[in-house]
């Protein structure tokens, strides 16, 4: 417990320390990069709720990530072109306010997860992986060929959305926002895992039959977990779109789903801080190796391979040793 706790603390502190150091050295891009780590980690935390706790290997989480992104893109697009989203039956206008956008992203993400989850959870194992992929791909192709919001070209937002009392265009302030969101969600996810619901959900992953015989429905447990997971990932999507001031169908592609999953596995499946470690390592590698050679993917591949082969339970697992189930 203590050792794992220490590692988590260091990992977590690393983000603001990096960002502040970059601020002092006047390297705004490093702050942006750190922000990206925080946001992708958030997406990973979302996936980890379904994947780590619930054992629901979703290869369609890009759908929620992208939905969050498009929630931001569409709202901001209408606000910046001064056109309403809907006039009939009631008038809905765009907005450039982050909190409102987040709320919309979380709600649409949750709704989409409810719909996709309700259908997908009839299957399990590899079939579940593939059916979630299928729903993700449907959305992806839809977004590509749907002209209203730019199709494959995506949507550009010229100015980052606003947060009351802050200047979001200042990299460090935007970082602060994402970091606080990440911290809150991590705190929530930690409590969640240790809660009665977390105990039952995790049991449903290990042995659904057992959960049924104590009078709990694995389907309902999983569906709720999937919805929460989708909502958190959608929130991350909205932040990611805001970071780039741009959203496009690539946010919905299966590569994105795969990448979020890689963060989780790399850090350690089911570990609260796993996605933070995974996203940080991945972005760091990408950034360092990218400058070395045109063929840097080879090195990235080799490094990832070494991690899987020799770091059981992801990075956190390797560092902290076997964790006794949370008691």
């Amino acid at each position: 417990m203590t050792r794992g706790f220490l590692i988590n603390l260091v990992l977590f502190a690393m983000l603001p320390v990096t960002a502040l150091t970059a601020l002092m050295l006047d390297e705004p891009f490093i702050i942006t990069l750190t922000t990206k780590v925080a946001i992708l980690a958030l997406a990973g935390v979302g996936l980890n709720i379904a994947l780590g706790l619930g054992g629901l290997v979703s290869l369609g989480h890009a759908a929620f990530f992208g939905i969050g992104g498009y929630a931001m893109g569409i709202l901001a697009h209408h606000a910046q072109t001064f056109t309403p989203i809907l006039e009939n039956p009631l008038l809905i206008e765009g907005t450039k306010s982050m909190p409102v956008i987040w709320l919309v992203a979380v709600l649409t993400g949750a709704l989409a997860a409810l719909a996709i989850g309700a259908l997908s959870l009839r299957t399990s194992g590899v079939y579940f992986i593939m059916i979630t992929l299928a729903f993700g791909q449907m959305l992806y192709y839809f977004a590509i060929s749907w002209p209203a919001y730019g199709g494959e070209d995506g949507l550009s937002i010229y100015v980052r959305n606003g947060f009351p009392g802050l200047n979001t265009l200042d990299p460090i302030q935007f970082f602060a926002i994402t970091f606080v969101v990440l911290a809150l969600v991590l705190g929530g996810a930690g409590r969640f895992a240790a809660s009665p619901f977390g105990l039952a959900l995790s049991a449903a992953r290990q042995n659904p039959e057992r959960v049924e015989t104590v009078g709990l429905s694995p389907y309902r447990l999983r569906l709720l977990a999937f919805v929460i997971s989708g909502a958190v990932t959608a929130l991350a999507g909205a932040l990611f779109a805001d970071l780039n001031r741009f959203v496009s169908p690539t946010m919905l592609s299966w590569h994105m789903s795969g990448e979020i999953m890689i963060f989780v596995i790399l850090g350690g499946v089911g570990r609260l801080f796993g996605p933070v470690a995974g996203a940080a390592l991945f972005i760091l590698l990408e950034h360092i190796l990218g400058g070395l050679s045109d063929f840097w993917h080879v090195y990235l591949g080799l490094l990832l391979l070494l991690v899987v082969l020799f770091a059981r339970g992801g990075m956190i697992g390797a560092l902290a040793g076997r964790q006794v189930a949370h008691d």
């Binding site: 059916i131 449907m138 080879v298």
Partner: protein, 305 residues
């Protein structure tokens, strides 16, 4: 649309299906039978195509190229199994996902390193090129007929191997309990290396056969990988028969969806909008098919619970 065109399109759909099966066959073997999620299957497909293109370029012989594709991919598969995969059998599926994802990166960029960034040339031999006329007056490319033949032959062979031979039985036994099959005196490691190499070889062969009428380039394996997964999931994992049926279904849906849907929408929409909506829906059609199949049969058409 005339009947003869419709028949031709159905034939195209079946043919595309068999092509998909060719790609999916090796994957079913590795994924369904050994229980290993191998994302790098598409890379082995690419290795086969590149080996074939290189050998065809150097010798001019298509047969030698095919042999090269089989050998190169099988060798790559065996090495990968010995060095990486073998440590992953008793791991979580997710570790397999990460490791084989890493392999994709290595294979893709490694191939680009060796062969450059531009597509390679691989064409069908003159003896197999050009169309033949089928009964009913349909002109059909001979090479595609050959692919159908090869695909069906491989389907039959694999089915026999897995369902009927003792090796097949032992492989399946190992999938559910490796420790137990070893305790019965079977050298399951060696068996798995062989199976993996065989699956890889089939992927490589498919890469060469299909590469001859498509483009041989880095990354060619990725779309194939997804399609192949779709196919074997629809058919039910571990079932060769399922993979064949799934491949044909996907082939037909994809082909006929693209052909018919715009027309269907044109009956009640203006033409340009109908084309747009119809084509978008056609792009999604196989995923809609897969979702529908899984909703009614959560373990695929021929899968066991």
């Amino acid at each position: 649309m005339t009947t003869i065109l419709l028949i031709e399109q159905v034939l195209n759909g079946l043919q595309f299906g068999v092509m998909l099966f060719l790609m999916a066959a090796g994957l079913t073997l590795i994924f369904g039978v050994m229980g290993l999620i191998n994302l790098a299957h598409g890379s082995l497909y690419m290795v086969g195509a590149f080996a074939a293109a290189a050998v065809a370029g150097a010798t001019g012989s298509f047969i030698l190229a095919l042999i090269a594709s089989l050998v190169a991919a099988a060798a790559a598969g065996a090495i990968v199994e010995l060095v990486v995969i073998r440590r992953l059998y008793d791991r979580d599926h997710l570790d397999q996902v990460l490791a084989t994802f890493a392999l994709i990166l290595i294979f893709s960029e490694g191939t680009r390193w060796l062969f450059g960034s531009f597509p390679l040339f691989l064409d069908i031999p003159p003896a197999l090129s050009g169309p033949v006329t089928l009964p009913g007056g349909i002109e059909y490319p001979l090479y595609r007929l050959v692919i159908i033949g090869v695909g069906l032959f491989i389907a039959l062979g694999l089915f026999q191997l897995i369902a009927r031979t003792r090796i097949g039985i032992r492989i399946r036994a190992g999938e559910s309990d490796r420790e137990m099959i070893a305790a019965l005196g079977v050298d399951i490691s060696k068996l798995y290396t062989l199976v993996f190499a065989l699956g890889a070889g089939l992927a490589g062969l498919a890469g060469a056969l299909v590469g001859a009428i498509q483009s041989v380039q880095v990354g060619m394996g990725e779309p194939v990988l997804i399609l192949a997964f779709v196919v074997i999931v629809i058919g039910g994992i571990g079932s060769i028969r399922g993979a064949l049926v799934g491949a044909l279904l996907v082939g037909l849906t994809d082909t006929l969806g693209g052909v018919l849907l715009p027309g269907v929408f044109a009956t009640f929409m203006e033409p340009s909008a109908a084309t747009a909506v119809g084509s978008s829906l056609a792009s999604m059609s196989i995923y809609i098919l897969m979702a529908a199949v899984l909703l009614f049969k959560p373990t695929g058409l021929y899968g066991s619970a």
